[in-house]
């Protein structure tokens, strides 16, 4: 054993474990954050399953034969099926029947279905029946998109098992923004969108944490390098000092936002151009309208910018309560769960699929909004994005006001954050 190694190790461990910031940041927060994330996702999966079981299935029976009646009866054992006659899927979608019956899946049993199955039963095994399934594609990045279509496929498999192997095949299509897209499987599309929607939240997460670290050092560095006191005695408005600090980070944030958008756009192009071939070669995202428009990109950029701004302002305020750079960086670490939690959860879930209380929490966290926006701009839900921008802007104004108040008083020099106690002014040593 190296001489002194154990002594140094024990001393280092004591120092680290007695630092409450490290204890909270590295041990307590992960212990809370990941169970919370698990709870949210578990709840969302459970509620999606329950909804799927309770869901109404619209069945357009254009066959009206024995086999189609039998198939509908079989479907009715698992789901609540509503039979529509004398219509086509196109008409049903156009007339808004899915919304009317609060359904997301429509099944068409085409004419000739029973005749084909009868021929199959008579020994012509190469003749099979096909049902057409149309699933509403609700948006990007929800693992539950196309859930209804998957359930119908599973029912068809069960039907085949009961009657004859592969007697009924399923042809999947999607309903995107009110339009039927033939041959586009909603679950495949969902996988494709998920592969895209992973990248942006992770990039935003990294960018926010990195930018906050930089901003946190701006005031802390002044304290650590002992330049703050001098700066506060020059004949310059304190608000100008604050704005100078925040503005420099705004410029960095602006450049970062643009960089992210360029990278994101390039990534989308790569996926639709090449990588998509592995998952769904026939899917053209641009043709389906599932790539943000210029207006969508603009809104996403604004959302990113304001979120960064609010994060940076908050980091500046928090760093004012630290004596040095290390303390400031640990301090902003307390914000990270509010960045990580929405980023991780919203990769897999659509915020609207969550319970109302959880939705409220996610909407209240400013750092959720660019991630929500990244999905909303794909589906064209610009109102959600704009409301998010307004909310984050209002949050930023509040933070900036708090920061300006802090800079205007002696608290900028004397405020300290302490665990278990209120921050108290400290007598300078002289």
């Amino acid at each position: 054993m190296l001489k002194g190694f154990t002594t140094i190790l024990v001393k280092e461990l004591k120092e680290l474990m007695r630092d409450p910031k490290i204890l909270v940041g590295m041990i307590v927060l992960p212990l809370i954050m990941f169970p919370v994330l698990g709870l949210v996702m578990g709840y969302a999966v459970q509620s999606a399953q329950e909804q799927a079981q309770k869901a109404t299935l619209l069945v357009v029976d254009n066959d009206n034969g024995n086999w189609s009646t039998l198939f509908v009866r079989y479907v009715n054992n698992s789901m609540n099926a509503i039979i529509l006659n004398q219509t086509t899927p196109q008409t049903a979608v156009a007339e808004g029947l899915l919304q009317h019956y609060n359904s997301t899946t429509l099944v068409e049993i085409p004419a000739g279905f029973s005749a084909n199955l009868s021929r199959h039963s008579a020994g012509e095994l190469n003749i099979t029946g096909t049902i057409n399934v149309y699933s509403v594609f609700s948006g990007a990045g929800s693992i539950f998109s196309g859930f209804g279509g998957a359930v119908v496929s599973s029912i068809a498999t069960g039907f085949n098992r009961a009657v004859a192997p592969d007697v009924v095949s399923v042809y999947q299509s999607s309903i995107i923004k009110g339009q039927i897209q033939e041959g586009v499987d909603a679950s495949v599309l969902s996988s494709l969108m998920l592969s895209q929607s992973i990248a942006l939240p992770i990039t935003i997460m990294i960018m926010l944490t990195y930018a906050m670290q930089i901003a946190a050092t701006s005031v802390a560095m002044e304290k650590e390098e002992k330049t703050l006191e001098t700066l506060l005695t020059v004949p310059v408005d304190r608000f100008a000092i604050l704005m100078g600090k925040v503005s420099s980070t705004i410029i960095v944030a602006g450049v970062a936002s643009i960089t992210v958008l360029i990278g994101y756009n390039y990534m989308l192009g790569s996926i639709t151009g090449g990588i998509a071939g592995n998952i769904g070669s026939s899917i053209d995202m641009v043709a389906l309208g599932l790539v943000p428009s210029v207006w969508g990109y603009t809104l996403l950029g604004i959302s990113l910018f304001f979120t960064l701004l609010s994060a940076l302002a908050l980091a500046v305020v928090m760093s004012a309560f630290s004596e040095n750079v290390r303390g400031a960086q640990a301090m902003v670490g307390y914000i990270y769960p509010l960045i990580f939690l929405p980023a991780m959860a919203l990769i897999y879930l659509d915020v609207t699929s969550m319970p109302l209380a959880v939705q409220a929490i996610f909407f209240a966290i400013p750092y959720s909004h660019p991630i929500i926006a990244s999905k909303a701009v794909v589906t064209g839900d610009y109102l959600t994005v704009i409301l998010g921008i307004v909310y984050v802007a209002a949050f930023t104004i509040v933070i900036m006001y708090a920061a300006s108040r802090l800079f205007a008083t002696e608290k900028i020099l004397t405020a300290k954050f302490r665990f278990g106690k209120r921050g108290k002014a400290k007598e300078p040593s002289d």
Binding site: T227, L231, T233, D237, L413, P428, D430
Partner: protein, 243 residues
């Protein structure tokens, strides 16, 4: 004649701690006035109140007739503060640092270049001003900061331990700078120090602070005579009851 500094019954409470307890003193224009006392006596708190960094719990402070508590912005236009533990921005060169501070302390009429040239002359760092501040020794950094504090010829320069932690030669250089600058430009200086010899050498008058109270004030020579002491260190020890 308007007093340079008029401190009246200053008290400052930090939670349960009373850092200042009714401190009063006056400083005449063109004077070098020293605050001396042990650690925690209240020197830095007094200087911070004068420099508008903190507000007194009670009492008043006037700088050249201006109420520093009520008109901090105006007060900042005529003062310059050198904190005890002060630094320069490590990634700026000495020249850039002086330029940055000169711009912040200037008025539209100020000739920034002339101010920086003056600072360069005061600190005597020569070509090293082109190097980043992080490459400076402690003594060089302190010379840069003293030059920064004096370059704009403030009406009142507040210097907290100006030669703190410096070796004999650097400390000597800084004391010479302060003395010469006051003589040439009539700047009023308020300084605090642990170093009684430094205070005795530089100051026209001194005030001894102990436990937040001003215990005695006067010219160094007069205080030595009054307390029958050889130097200010002995005076201080006698005043606070250690001798």
């Amino acid at each position: 004649m308007t007093l340079a500094v008029e401190a009246s019954s200053l008290t400052k409470q930090f939670g349960q701690i009373k850092a200042l307890d009714g401190v009063s003193f006056n400083i005449n224009p063109g004077e070098i006035y020293g605050l001396i006392g042990p650690n925690g006596a209240g020197k830095t708190t007094t200087l911070r109140i004068i420099c508008t960094l903190i507000k007194p719990t009670s009492g008043s402070i006037n700088i050249f007739g201006q109420d520093a508590t009520k008109q901090p912005e105006k007060t900042r236009q005529i003062i310059s503060y050198l904190p005890e533990e002060s630094g320069a921005y490590p990634n700026l060169t000495g020249w850039e640092y002086l330029e940055f501070m000169a711009k912040l302390q200037s008025t539209p009429e100020t000739n920034i270049k002339a101010v920086i040239d003056e600072a360069a002359q005061i600190c005597g760092l020569g070509d090293r001003l082109k190097d980043r501040a992080k490459t400076y020794s402690k003594g060089m950094k302190r010379r840069l900061l003293v030059a920064r504090a004096l370059m704009t010829r403030p009406k009142l320069a507040v210097l907290d331990e100006p030669a703190s932690g410096l070796d004999v030669l650097h400390a000597y250089h800084i004391r010479e700078i302060v003395k010469r600058y006051v003589k040439e430009h009539g700047v009023t200086v308020l300084l605090s120090s642990h170093n009684m010899l430094e205070v005795e050498y530089l100051c026209n008058r001194v005030a001894l602070i102990n436990k937040g109270k001003l215990v005695v004030e006067g010219e160094p020579k007069a205080l030595k005579t009054r307390f029958n002491s050889e130097n200010l260190e002995e005076v201080f020890a006698k005043v606070v009851g250690y001798a």
